[in-house]
């Protein structure tokens, strides 16, 4: 472990101080709710590019895209190519984002009210907030994991919680005071710091490890599937189609992305921000993916090294040997039948369900996600002193920009849409600002409890997948119908929201009970595609079933 030198500490300290000072100084420009939520729509193209890129790259993104590189090779960067295509096309054509920005609304549900009524606006607000905040709940812990490993600290004790609480409090202070204006200006600083770190470390990897080594590592571990997604058993056509739908829906409706369009000076500026930032999403997947591949090349599969000394001590030595000898990401056999099917050689390096039961559930969960922690472990050994400060500052920048934007934009939906029924009379700007600031503070408290200090039981990622699919499938369908289908109405919108919730929840139930358990688990991306198709059908059928007003019907006949 290289650890941190005083020089590294100095770089990190100067960066954090500069961000806080600038973020807080901007508060004097905030006088209205519109300043706080959408920066009085004064955002221009280049500030928008910096802000969108900084927000969409956090430590979580870095960890999971690096894990994709580690587990799937170069083919793991396919979602980045799909997001690039989706964002470029949406920006170029203005699909949905032009009518959305031209309408002058502050949030997507506000637009829905014009077409579908106040109840759909409220329901959409709830779906958006649930999906967004539950997703954001994992940011702090995963970000803390990265920092702990990259700094070469032992993950034991409460270091992670204390470090991430301090970081979140700092971010919350400038977000609460300066709103979107502070977020935009600090995002700019964070974009520069983050980009410098990403570019320098990637050049260092290519220079020291070399392209040939990266390519041969992918060939050794993943074969042709490491380069071609359609030859990779964990990717394939359904994964690509599902990710195309998911990323298009995210480009159209994910609150942090769409907030940049709504803060832009006009729809033309919003479209330029999208087209010119789109290629960043290739970098967002490919650069950490290369870091993940480099981790595989240099340290290989070392699951035990991702545990703290306390966690390691709880595993009996004989089982430790099996885990150390395990195949990549195949430490455990899911069932006794699966274990019995293995060859004697593979049984000697796979834990049976009985053996797994002797290990603490927390340690088992940690080993199941071991591939996630190889990249920061590798960086802690590879990045030299001096550059480590830049890397940590870059990752802090990435995380802070994401946290601030998430807190603000989802807080905006709570204020603008969920609290809308309580604002029968127009609130003064002073009262509105107070509420907005209180909501951002409460989101911060929620994140600390849900995401950091309280340990979630059960399969967290299943819940996140479900809430994400409920949000993206239904909101994207509603937005498209709202902008381009005259016949769309509140029946269709309600049916789409209900269907968007039912399909993922049914998938969850079918994964755990009934005769189709294995099929549903193996075809989860197919189920994801089905969710989008069924939600679209629900919108169409629901809208067509509602009787048209007499005048409109006669107009159609004429």
């Amino acid at each position: 472990m290289n650890g941190l030198t005083p020089l590294d500490g100095g770089i990190i300290g100067v960066y954090l101080l500069a961000t806080m000072v600038i973020g807080i100084a901007i508060r004097k420009y905030v006088g209205r709710v519109e300043d706080f939520l959408v920066a009085r729509r004064e955002m221009d193209v280049y500030l928008g590019i910096a802000s969108l890129a900084a927000t969409e790259f956090g430590i979580v993104s870095c960890m999971y895209t690096a894990q994709n590189g580690f587990d799937k090779g170069f083919a793991g960067a396919v979602p980045g190519l799909l997001t690039f295509a989706a964002m470029f096309l949406v920006g170029w054509t203005g699909f949905c984002i032009k009518p959305l920005r031209d309408s002058g609304v502050m949030t997507i549900p506000e637009l829905f009210e014009k077409k579908f009524g106040p109840r759909v606006r409220w329901a959409a607000g709830v779906v958006i907030v649930l999906g967004g905040l539950l997703n954001m709940g994992v940011f702090l812990r995963v970000g803390g994991d990265f920092l702990i490993h990259a700094c070469g600290m032992d993950p034991g004790g409460h270091k992670l919680e204390v470090m991430m609480t301090s970081l979140l409090v700092g971010v919350a202070v400038y977000t609460i005071l300066g709103g979107m204006l502070s977020v935009l200006v600090t995002d700019f600083l964070q974009f520069i710091m983050m980009s410098a770190g990403l570019i320098v470390v990637t050049f260092l990897i290519l220079n020291k490890i070399g392209w040939s080594t990266l390519v041969s590592t992918v060939e050794t571990y993943h074969g042709a599937g490491g380069f071609n997604p359609f030859k990779n058993p964990s990717i394939g056509w359904s994964y690509v189609i599902f990710n195309a739908l998911l990323n298009t829906a995210a480009v159209l409706t994910w609150q942090t992305q769409i907030a940049r369009v709504l803060s832009a000076k006009d729809s033309g500026t919003g479209r330029k921000v999208y087209t010119r930032t789109s290629f960043f999403f290739v970098a967002r997947f490919l650069i950490p993916g290369i870091w993940g591949i480099a981790a595989l090349a240099v340290i290989g599969w070392v699951p035990l090294k991702t545990l703290s000394s306390d966690q390691l001590a709880t595993i009996p030595p004989a089982l430790q040997q099996k885990v150390a000898a395990s195949k990549m990401s195949k430490v455990f056999a899911a069932t006794d039948q699966d274990y019995a099917k293995l060859s004697p050689d593979d049984q000697a390096r796979t834990l049976s369900p009985d053996e797994t039961a002797t290990i603490q559930p927390e340690v088992v969960a940690r080993l199941k996600e071991a591939s996630l922690h190889h990249m920061p472990l590798f960086l802690s050994m590879f990045v030299p002193a001096g550059l480590m400060g830049l890397l940590i500052a870059a990752m802090l920048a990435a995380d802070m920009s994401t946290d601030s934007s998430y807190m603000l934009t989802w807080g905006g939906v709570i204020y603008n849409d969920i609290l809308a029924p309580f604002r029968k009379k127009k609130w003064s700007d002073k009262k509105g600002l107070l509420w907005n600031r209180a909501i951002v503070a409460l989101i911060g408290v929620f994140l600390l409890i849900y995401g950091l200090w309280y340990k979630l039981e059960g399969d967290l990622w299943t819940y996140l997948g479900i809430t994400g699919t409920i949000y993206l499938s239904s909101m994207s369908t509603l937005l498209i119908a709202c902008c381009y289908w005259k016949r769309a109405n509140n029946w269709g919108a309600t049916a789409a929201i209900i269907c968007g919730a039912l399909v993922p929840i049914s998938t969850l139930i079918l994964q755990t009970r009934g005769p189709w358990t294995q099929w549903v688990t193996d075809h989860n991306t197919t189920c994801g595609i089905a969710a989008y198709v069924l939600v679209a059908l629900a919108m169409v059928i629901g809208s067509l079933l509602k009787p048209q007003p007499q005048a409109a019907a006669e107009g159609v006949k004429a």
Binding site: L47, F188, W211, V215, F227, F279
Partner: protein
């Protein structure tokens, strides 16, 4: 210089699609970072100036 050219040639020879994509990505990202740093700073200045002016206007 020779090392850099050799490195680029290797990237384009071995799995050219991912090699070329990585090269384009790093070149684009390095360029856009510098460009956005300069132009974005100008955007912030003019945004804050406009906000100050509109605040002063009764």
């Amino acid at each position: 210089m020779t090392t850099i050219i050799h490195g680029i040639a290797t990237m384009l020879r071995e799995h050219w699609f991912w090699g070329a994509l990585t090269l384009i990505c790093l070149t684009w990202y390095s360029t856009i970072t510098i460009y956005v740093a300069i132009r974005g700073f100008g955007d912030i200045r003019s945004m804050l100036r406009r906000l100050s002016n509109s605040k002063d206007t009764p």
